[in-house]
Symmetry: C2
Subunit: 240 residues, 2 copies
């Protein structure tokens, strides 16, 4: 149970030690965005939100609470799709997702709290990485901050990386060769998303049930990058 | 190296034994669609393809070989996006992907072969499942036939399931409860896609480099389903 103001790296180190899973060099720790956001106190009292006119109109269109729509709009730069029950936006962090990734699962009454995504997940991942490398006296490790997104054409939600540190989020294998010596042409591997998605196989979906997953066996070269590399910019996005 | 007419289950069983990875009950075998398609002789000599007028026009629009566009159209039920270098379609199997999943990586000259996806991947998965359960004398196992697809909003290609047997492709956790006893509302987990994507972490992308991946540690209940459950039907698809 992570609370606002907690030292998240210390909480993670303690939990990993308690589970007899101390990190070793080249591990990637996949961290649920929810506990990062809670430690950063990204909780908003819904009762204090005053919806704009635009939020009120969109709330009618989507059959959602106008205060929740207002929070979604504040976290977004564009609306992609609005339908009854559906509000898909481009988040200020660049990716396209439902409800700007805001967790309203605790929102049922008037004194309830909505949980926004972390302010700067790449920075959060970098901080966690540095602190955990020190805590365990090892390096390099990777950190992926994972959120759960729906998909355009396919049912169901999968883990995606919204923050990365210590890994290259994208592996560009164009120019490498296949078994027959032929050059591979269109092989862009979203490594950080694959890790977030694979972690979803064991983390489950039950709130904070298992918000830390250790991926062991990769060969990290210390390369790093920005989670923005994982997202099509609007000018190249054919669908949003 | 799988060739047309090969008994794919026998090839897989032999390869798994040679790698000292005999299947045990509850294993899921993730199989690259490419070797399934080759065993089913889904190879088409490109020189024999006569493009339709529609294919010729779309070839100009997309800057692609008209014979390849013709093959893409024959495997598709609708065009989603056409741009220079890009042709995204709804496949006859229901999903949306670039180039109808056809592998043109061997196509450079006049006597070259394009590789279409398997005719009925769920049926192929079911056949493999039955044969491998017999070969190893165990049950149940799951089989996922995995292809690699791009994503609407995010860069890079990930594994997705185009055929399943022995697993429920979707886990519907709506109605289950979180740590606090609150009902989970929107939790649809595309298990088969998660398995295909996780397998991508170890299978690599180099042609047939590692076309079989064993996932161990799941609890299969023998439930099964159709890969069509993983895909939004056109009437519910907000983006294609």
């Amino acid at each position: 149970m992570v609370r606002p103001g907690d030292d998240l790296a210390a909480v993670c180190a303690e939990a990993l030690r308690a589970a007899r899973m101390p990190l070793v060099a080249h591990d990637v720790l996949v961290v649920a965005s929810k506990i990062v956001a809670k430690s950063e106190n990204r909780l908003v009292p819904v009762a204090q939100v005053v919806p704009s006119e635009r939020a009120e109109a969109l709330a009618v269109e989507t059959d959602k609470d106008p205060r929740l729509v207002e929070l979604i709009l504040r976290e977004s730069v564009a609306v992609s799709r609005a339908r009854p029950g559906v509000l898909i936006v481009r988040h200020r962090l660049g990716f396209v997702s439902a409800n700007a990734g805001i967790d309203f699962s605790n929102v049922d009454g008037t004194d309830d709290l909505a949980l926004l995504l972390p302010i700067d997940p790449d920075a959060s991942a970098t901080g966690l990485r540095r602190s955990l490398e020190v805590a365990f006296g090892i390096a390099p490790i990777g950190v992926v901050i994972a959120d759960t997104h729906g998909r355009a054409f396919r049912r169901g939600n999968v883990g995606v990386a919204i923050g990365v540190a210590g890994i290259s989020p994208i592996l560009d294998q164009r120019g490498s060769h296949d078994l027959f010596g032929r050059e591979l042409r269109a092989t862009i591997v979203p490594l950080a998303d694959q890790l977030a998605s694979a972690a979803g196989l064991v983390s489950g979906e039950a709130a904070e049930g298992r918000p830390l997953v250790v991926v062991r066996g990769l060969e990290l070269d210390g390369a790093t990058g920005s989670s923005a590399e994982l997202v099509w910019p609007p000018s190249e996005d054919l669908f949003a």
